[in-house]
């Protein structure tokens, strides 16, 4: 009997990883195909970004730096879509850019898609500046001379000819900036080289794995709010009352989290049993 128990414990601790892969795949797929739409609670850090956007008067300058690459698209792109929807609905002057060259296409797509959805015109309601090399140096340079850093927008139109940019000469003219980051350069760089020196309000968005690292900045008031991962994007979608891909993905995320929780608990139960068996 003991030998049999020992065998089960050993086998459970060394379970075939393909079994775990299959559980994760099912936990992802089934809720996507049969959504339950569980209620999403709003966290204070996401609400802070939303409330600040709400407090901006019409015509305020909102800068969205989409500093993420395709690998982070599932998590951060829905954040960009939600923020752009909010900004365009509020009739803010929207400036979009990216500090990651591989993010240019997604940033352009996000701006164009939401602008078309809300019938906004490039140059009049928004500008997409594209990408410049230099990472944090681009932020510093924009703080000194935004037009000099981006003499033309992504489409080759001189910045001076874009009416949306008329009163925006440096980062000091920006009312609210949000960096959606997936690594370097990201929220940290926007704070250190941007907000700290040029004094504009800054919010952050990031992948879920990066979000805990940004809490010290949040608590210190260095960023006024934080949208963390797909969950943060889903919360923002709920605040906007417009469900999108983030809300659709929350059931899957719930299921996969719980599969991992159950697996870790099972693994530890068998681990404790195996230790007791070794002692006896």
């Amino acid at each position: 009997m003991n030998l049999s128990n020992h065998s089960i414990v050993t086998r459970m601790l060394a379970i075939d990883r393909r079994f775990i892969f299959m559980l994760i795949a099912l936990a992802t797929l089934i809720p996507l195909l049969n959504p339950i739409n569980l209620p999403i609670m709003i966290s204070p850090e996401v609400r802070a970004v939303y409330d600040h956007m709400e407090s901006l008067p019409e015509g305020s300058v909102f800068l969205l730096s989409m500093d993420f690459d395709p690998a982070s698209k599932p998590e951060v792109y829905p954040q960009a879509i939600a923020l752009l929807r909010h900004a365009f609905k509020k009739n803010l002057k929207v400036i979009g850019l990216t500090l990651l060259v591989t993010g240019t296409g997604m940033a352009e797509e996000a701006m164009a898609t939401v602008a078309e959805e809300l019938e906004k015109i490039n140059g009049t309601d928004y500008a997409f500046l594209g990408w410049r090399p230099g990472a944090s140096a681009v932020i510093l340079s924009m703080g000194q001379d935004l037009v000099g850093t981006f003499p033309q927008d992504h489409y080759g139109i001189p910045i001076d000819e874009l009416s949306v940019m008329h009163n925006v000469k440096t980062l000091r003219d920006v009312d609210y900036a949000v960096s959606l980051a997936a690594g370097f350069p990201g929220v940290d760089e926007w704070y250190i080289y941007g907000k700290d020196k040029y004094r504009f309000e800054l919010g952050g968005g990031s992948t879920a794995v990066m979000a805990p690292g940004l809490y010290p900045r949040l608590r210190a008031g260095q960023i006024n709010g934080l949208i963390g991962g797909l969950r943060g994007a889903a919360e923002y979608e709920k605040l906007l009352d417009q469900s999108g891909k983030a809300t659709a993905g929350m059931d899957s995320q719930s299921a996969t989290h719980f599969v991992i929780i159950v697996l870790v608990i099972i693994c530890n139960v068998f681990y404790v049993i195996s230790r007791r068996q070794k002692r006896t």
Partner: protein, 217 residues
Amino acid sequence: MIFLKRQLPLVVTFCMGVVFAMQYYVPHPTSEALLKNASNWIIIIGGFALILGLVSLIQLHMHRIQRNVGGWGYSAVLFAAMFAMVIAGILAGGKNLDSERALTGYGWAYSYAMVPLQGTMFSLLAFFVASAAYRAFRARTKEAALLLIAALLVMWGRVPLGEYLWAFSGDIAQWILNVINSSVRRAILIGVSLGVIALSIKIIFGIERMYLGGKKE
């Protein structure tokens, strides 16, 4: 030659280090213009770094193909993909969308090849994380048990199902992130920052010279 290799870089580092450390605290227009010029230099150097990276990548993979190193076929695929993207990019003027908001060839390759491929690579992590968590996340010590409990609570409280099953779990996860996580990370950040300041001072004053080539005089 020793002057060019050793003394000159040390002098330049000292001057630039002192000037830009002072610059932060001097809001005079001349000081701001200096920062603007330096930022522009960095942006231009960043552009050249891209070319350097490209040349280095080509050299590395050419070498692999020439010597028939195992997996050289992947290097050939890299060249094919890279040059296809460069040609598509030049033809599209670097734009993903044309004037009628339709995808260009470059945009098509980006949206339907690069984005799904990178997304897939990153998504695979979920499977490996789950497998690794099962194998490695064990309460071997008291510290590991604490970490395990904290991780489970945050995982539970950060998803709608967790909050639905136990409404208080969201607040617990929030407290762990806001209080415990923030304080520990802040301590690490302060430590790292002090280390960076100390290292910067050593570099500015020429005490730390490893960046000159790694050899000590």
